[in-house]
Amino acid sequence: MSTTTTDLQDEIDALGKSHDNHHHGPEKGVMRWIKTTNHKDIGTLYLWFAFIMLLTGGAMAMVIRAELFQPGLQLVEPQFFNQMTTLHGLIMVFGAIMPAFVGLANWQIPLMIGAKDMALPRMNNWSFWILPFAGAMLLSTLFMKGGGPAFGWTFYAPLSTTFAPDSTDFFIFAIHMLGFSSIMGAINVIATILNMRAPGMKLMDMPLFVWTWLITAFLLIAAMPVLAGAVTMMLTDRNFGTSFFDAAGGGDPVMFQHIFWFFGHPEVYIMILPAFGVVSQIIPTFARKPLFGYSSMVYATASIALLSFVVWAHHMFLTGMPVAGQMYFMYATIMISVPTGVKVFNWVTTMWRGSLSFETPMLWAVAFVILFTIGGFSGLMLGIAPADIQYHDTYFVVAHFHYVLVTGALFSIIAAVFYWLPKWCGRMYNQKLAKIHFWWAVISVNILFFPQHFLGLAGMPRRIPDYSLQFADFNMISSIGGFVFGASFLLLTYIIVDCIRNGERVKEPRVWPSAKGLEWTIPTPAPYHTFDKPPGKELILAESSHTGAH
């Protein structure tokens, strides 16, 4: 037993040394970032882009919450308010959450499967560098005549076709470019995972983060072209005289919703499956216990992904669907709570009789499990077709999807950054400050979103700039929560920048002593080039987080 450990240690040392001998470091200056094909550089670019977009979309949320602070119109005109809700949604979905997960994938997948880099490094560069241009084009619509898109992030026709401002064509082009980027990113992830795993690593040896991303990448490839189809039909309806969505020409506006949600529902799982992966890495580390039910986690993720393609019309119960259609979509939708429940039960059982400690990443992961589950409950309620009559398009829905996207997806991204950042930059953040930030954010986010359940049940529709007075109190509470939550991101920015510039140096490869996984076998900070020589079979098995080797 002891000899094996020594051998492994030798191998780890060898991996660390190999990069010093025969590899050049990164290029100097700005060209390093423009020309880079290094998965770590590209991961960093993605993460910073996502962070800037997060702050931009967050600033728009602040405008929304400020206008809703009291009844009456105080700060913005209704048309501008609609532009804010639209761009807030689009930027958070396509600019913040999705690129952040791709950034994490770029950094972590090669490190976790013992690969040198991503399989298609030049395409990797391209798929990132499309994003700033798409994002800039989307934002530039705000300054055009007639203003930016004001029809909600779901852009239902005909409000987004016949009745939309001219800038809508720029919005369409931006969506096309974002779609290209996502598809290329997804192809790269699949090619990397299927071809570049260290020899001897079977699919069922892969860490869950890699598994969830593999499945997510397939969802992306299947869903994004559908979105591209939807915006292309919009484009021809607007400019070339077609009438896909216009009843006067034989089209149907409800068809737009079918196409949109055929993309849109898989999209919500695109944003949450990698989050499941992140949490499945963090909880075992700080419970000091292998993940419970690894294979059932994999199967649950796959079934969620499959089900996500057959439930889209639960967003459309009120469009006049036949009653049989409503029944089918109701049954299929509530079925999703079974595999999702399995995941939650597995995380809870992983914690059960562990040896728990609550470092910053664990705090975020635990908050994720609790708050995402609350979002899951409201999701189950929304899935019941007759009850949806009263919930649909109200603040109950707003509360629901912010619980799954903010306290779900975003929290998992923050957890991931606090988990892997020390490995990336070789410095530890101020843990005390990070814990203060956690409590600040987790309390304020609930003050922000929990009252929105009440607002929705009390009858407040979403996407309105002004409301009747019975909604005043909860809106004010929600806005206060929003401002406090928004401010917490300034502290987060400080913590991260402070860590990268002045953080205490970390040398141990295994930053968290109880962590398992190949990424913890390379030196800290992660060298520019890693795994020139793939790790051996024994190391792979020893680092596998689910074999019981803990």
Partner: protein, 399 residues
């Protein structure tokens, strides 16, 4: 003690809001009062009608939905107690700092099966009542009367198919005046939830609603009736309600429909059958009077006065109160080529709208006299001094 629990939420006047705004000292107290105390006393709040939960409503459908809602809610609460209970237990008792030593178990097919099958059974149990309610609420047959509801940017049109009554329902002027004025807001009982003309319906009758739209997608929603249904342009959807109790029930548009989506309320006034018939009679008489008005000659002064009224209720939301429009979205009236140019073109666009834009065909919406008045007003207000006077007879012949 519990006096505070609902009244601030129920009271439309809502004085607390302004205390919060006006003084920082009170802000603290109010957060405690409205957030912490409700949290502590949440069961009370859950059942406080209209406050933070769905209303039971006044139709069998709305009551069924309420029952379903509470069932799923308690199922979720039970699961939450179980799952979060186990989590919190391990977070307290299985901490490393307490000397907990980690076990190594990580698999159990039996356990996995149990927590797949038990939730499945719960879901099936929920699906049965949900299906029953769904089938009932989708069955719009055997209606006693039919009302067609048409969504417009940003108002509702109601057609009583059996009586031949038809009218538009706009946001009440009192609410419009309060959007930028907090004092006016405070005086109102139903800010943004009042209309100039209510949808009057009889109680005890099975009413079928047909929903459609003239422009974008709207959604007609009155919670107490348990009705929310999208109004799609070019298609007709339906829903039904049988109102049990006379009263006033309020709702609003629930699908983003453009700039003034937040400003298209719905007010249903349910009357006993006899009172409803009286109302129907009055409506028919009023319709006759309007037809008579279009036969007479109007003075320019009267046309301008009436025109201003129609303009502010019908045109101002897009073209602006002072005729400035919204650049790039809605054209201005001031110096407009149409409003200062050929009169025939002006009448034509108002009557028939402009396809492919938000400009509606007002010929269907307004009588000859109102159309004549508003066109006269547009040609002589905002500095458009064309001097043209349009008589109802001109409109009649242009139709």
């Amino acid at each position: 003690m519990l006096g505070i629990r609902i009244s601030p939420f129920l009271s439309a006047k809502n004085t607390s809001l302004f205390n919060i705004v006006n003084s920082i000292n009170n802000k603290y107290l109010n957060i405690i009062k409205y957030f912490l105390i409700p949290l502590l006393l949440s069961p009370q709040f859950l059942f406080a009608e209209y406050a933070i939960n769905l209303p039971k409503g006044v139709t069998s459908v709305s009551r069924n939905i309420y029952g379903l809602h509470m069932t799923i809610f308690w199922v979720c609460v039970a699961i939450a107690i179980l799952v979060f209970g186990v989590m919190i237990w391990s977070m307290i008792f299985h901490r490393k700092s307490r000397g907990a030593v980690a076990s190594n178990f990580h698999e159990s097919t039996a356990v996995e099966l149990v927590w797949t099958l038990v939730p499945l059974a719960i879901l099936i149990a929920i699906a049965f009542p949900a299906t029953r309610v769904l089938i009932d609420l989708e069955n719009t047959e055997k209606a006693d009367m039919t009302v067609k509801i048409t969504g417009y940017q940003w108002k509702w049109q109601y057609d009583y198919m059996d009586e031949g009554i038809s009218f538009f329902s706009n946001l009440a002027q009192s609410s419009k005046d309060a959007i930028d004025n907090a004092d006016n807001r405070n005086k109102l009982d139903h800010y943004l939830k009042e209309v100039d003309k209510r949808l009057v319906l009889p109680v005890g009758k099975r009413i079928r609603f047909l929903m459609t739209s003239n422009d974008v997608i709207h959604s007609w929603w009155v919670r107490d009736l348990g009705v929310k249904q999208d109004a799609n342009p070019g298609f007709i959807n339906d829903a039904w309600a049988k109102i049990d109790k006379p009263g006033v029930y309020r709702g609003q548009c629930a699908e983003l429909c453009g700039k003034d989506h937040g400003f298209m309320p719905i007010v249903v006034e349910a009357l006993p059958e006899a009172d409803y018939q009286t109302w129907v009679g009055k409506q028919k008489a009023a319709q006759k009077a309007r037809e008579a008005a279009s036969g007479k000659q109007w003075s320019k002064q009267d046309l301008m006065a009436q025109g201003q009224k129609i303009y502010s209720s019908t045109c101002a939301s897009c073209h602006g109160v002072t005729g400035q429009g919204i650049p790039g979205v809605f054209p201005a009236m001031v110096g407009s080529k149409i409003a200062t140019g050929d009169l025939k073109k002006h009448i034509n666009i108002v009557l028939n709208g402009k396809s492919g834009t938000a400009m509606q065909a007002f010929g269907k919406q307004l009588g000859d006299a109102d159309l004549a008045a508003v066109i006269t007003y547009e040609r002589n207000a905002f500095g458009n001094n064309t001097g043209d006077v349009v008589q109802p007879s001109t409109i009649k012949s242009a139709r």
